[in-house]
């Protein structure tokens, strides 16, 4: 007999339709209950997007600058202050196999002024550095205006200014013949540089050639710093022998550093911030999930009459559970999609302000939506089961 009974049946599309009833009749509640998930997903997508965008920016920057630069500097030691390296330091370093090039810097005890009328004391914190012609290449620096010193201009009293030095001297270009009062002489400004990403202290320097320092300022040209470009595969090995090579007598007075480490350290600090925000996003998601569960429990209580009616119309327990589970999933997906849109928009806005490439990892988008679905499923499960377990007569009894 049972075999002849026509089965009740609910099409998937109709199941989906029943899942939308709650949100169609209670719009404000729908929006509010999706909000928690939305904020959580937006935070996570935004944070991952920003960290990805800034990472790609850093990689591009490191690619441009090269990570194989080491600096060897005199300092620390006993006579604290302006120590120097032995004259032959640069030549010795060049002899290390994997060293590709070296560039010497020698700090000059001189001051620079806008003209010869400026008071002696007002140095504006600008240093004078005598440098190799190879310095610009070594530091991957760029010229903002004018030109870099070469062997032709370097034999005259010419100077190239770091970006901050130029600003402090009130020089924003090399139009006309700009001169500065440097070490009691007139030096002609032939160039202004962009910011050095690998040597920010040189932004505050007036750079002259070693030759000019010797001829016009009678400077001894003892190196205070040597820039070393190394075979990228052997940076660590070279790093360990540099100090002893540069100053065999007092290696402890030599400081060896890798400027790109500072940039990477900054990014690592950003990573902890990213982790923190991800954690906050996860908390928001959790709260959002609890919010949805809460709203669904209330919804089941309020809609007992509807549940009873549907059972009377032939709905199975499964149909009822599916309806409420579907509703929870829908709320979560609305929150998830909204959150992804918000997170991507935030990333795009911030990245475009910073001039970065806009990068939102697809894992963040997919992960966000999957997380929303999971949370919706978990949050909806208990209310859905409760709804399906209601006895039809009890459910109908309530108006």
């Amino acid at each position: 007999m049972t075999s002849t009974l026509e089965r009740s049946e609910l099409h998937v599309s109709d199941m989906a339709r029943t899942a939308t009833i709650g949100m169609r009749t209670r719009r404000l509640r729908t929006v509010l209950s999706a909000l928690g998930i939305m904020i959580g997903i937006a935070a996570m997508v935004g944070v991952l997007g920003l960290s990805e965008s800034s990472k790609s920016e850093l990689l591009a920057q490191l690619e441009r600058l090269g990570t194989n630069l080491l600096t060897v500097e005199a300092g620390g030691g006993i006579g604290a202050g302006t120590g120097t390296l032995p004259d032959e330091a640069s030549a010795m370093i060049s002899r290390i196999g994997p060293v590709e090039s070296t560039s010497t810097i020698s700090a000059v005890q001189a001051n620079v002024y806008k003209n010869d009328l400026v008071d002696e004391g007002q140095t504006a914190g600008i240093t004078v550095q005598a440098v190799d012609y190879s310095l610009l290449d070594s530091l991957a620096g760029t010229v903002a205006d004018g030109q870099w010193i070469d062997s032709a201009t370097g034999s005259y009293p010419t100077v190239v200014l770091g970006s901050v030095a130029a600003e402090r001297l009130g020089i924003d270009g090399v139009l006309g013949t700009q001169q500065v009062w440097l070490g009691d002489q007139w030096f002609t400004v032939i160039g202004v540089l962009d910011t050095f990403e690998l040597a920010p202290d040189l932004d505050r320097a007036a750079l002259i050639s070693l030759e000019a320092a010797d001829v016009y300022l009678d400077h001894d040209n003892e190196p205070t710093r040597v820039l070393v470009r190394v075979d990228p595969g052997q940076i660590d090995q070279v790093g360990t022998v540099l100090a002893a090579t540069a100053n065999p007598e007092f290696p402890e007075e030599v400081e060896v550093a890798r400027p790109t480490d500072a940039l990477e350290a900054q990014e690592a600090a950003d990573d902890t911030l990213t982790a923190l925000f991800l954690g906050l996003g996860a908390v928001a998601l959790l709260v959002g999930g609890v919010g949805i569960a809460n709203v669904m429990v209330i919804s089941v209580l309020e809609r007992r009459g509807e549940i009873g009616l549907r059972r009377a119309l032939g709905a199975t327990r499964r149909n009822i559970a599916g309806q409420f589970l579907g509703e929870a999933l829908l709320l979560a997906v609305i929150g998830g999609v909204g959150g992804v849109i918000l997170g991507v928009a935030a990333t795009a806005l911030y990245a475009s302000i910073e001039g970065w490439e806009i990068l939102v990892p697809s894992i963040a988008v997919i992960g966000g939506l999957v997380a929303a679905l999971l949370i919706g499923g978990i949050a909806g499960l208990y209310p859905a089961i409760r709804a399906s377990r209601l006895s039809p007569t009890e459910a109908l009894h309530t108006t």
Binding site: S13, G314, T393, L396
Partner: protein, 232 residues
């Protein structure tokens, strides 16, 4: 059981409260195809309990209910849902219409769990709404309808898909006299066109306007006009 659509055989229903309530204490009667029966009795006499058992929304403590030839005791919960989807229509005192939906879609939902397509459901719903005189209100939200209109829509929902039997629990309970009379009239008209209907009411006057009256008191059948007069 030639043309009997519903048989209630020595049914008892006990609610396991403390103390337990014996809502039905051995009720037997049957409804034939095309019957229009009223079950009348004072409040608490067991009418709603009986309707729930006839509608397979609940199972008897003992005895048997047979709907369209299917004995309820032999069916699973899943089967009972199928039975309700295809064979039984309900009308409730509180209408139980779904807000936020049109009259047409409320009626169409009467077929939601039958596996028919949305278009089919809507076509049949429209025919049914025309039958109950609500053809001018198809796309109206049910919240904007009067009580009488709502009960017409609910009746159309019970009728759609032509179930074997329609069970109405106090269908006029929330209506004024005028609307109440109109619904009674509608029920009679639907019965004339072939529907088998059981109406539960505590209103003796309404009950007695129907061809067959079953009187219920304290969970027992007090009298059944079918067994008094001519035998079926």
């Amino acid at each position: 059981m030639s043309d009997s659509v519903l048989e209630v055989v020595d049914v008892c229903k006990e609610y396991p409260t403390t103390p337990p309530v014996h809502a039905l204490r051995g009720v037997s009667f049957s409804v034939a195809r095309g019957d229009l029966v009223s079950v009348v009795g004072p409040s608490g006499s067991g009418k709603s309990t009986l309707l729930h058992l006839m509608g397979t929304l609940d199972r008897p403590t003992s005895g048997e209910v047979v709907v369209s030839g299917y004995p309820v005791s032999e069916l699973s919960d899943r089967d009972l849902s199928s039975l309700r989807a295809h064979h039984i229509g309900f009308v409730f005192q509180q209408f139980h219409l779904l807000n936020g939906m049109t009259a047409l879609d409320n009626v169409a939902d009467g077929l939601l769990y039958t596996g028919r397509t949305l278009q089919e459901r809507r076509e049949l719903a429209e025919i049914e709404l025309l039958r109950v005189g609500m053809g001018h209100r198809l796309t109206q939200q049910t919240t904007k309808l009067s009580g009488g209109e709502r009960q017409r829509v609910a009746t159309a929902r019970a009728m759609v898909g032509s179930p074997s039997i329609i069970l109405a629990d106090e269908p006029t309970g929330n209506l004024d006299t005028k609307n109440s009379d109109a619904i009674v009239e509608l029920i009679e008209k639907l019965n004339e066109t072939g529907a088998t209907i059981v109406v539960i009411t505590h209103n003796r006057e309404i009950a007695e306007s129907f061809p067959r009256v079953v009187g219920l008191r304290d969970g027992l059948i007090e009298h059944d006009s079918a067994s008094v007069g001519a035998v079926r």
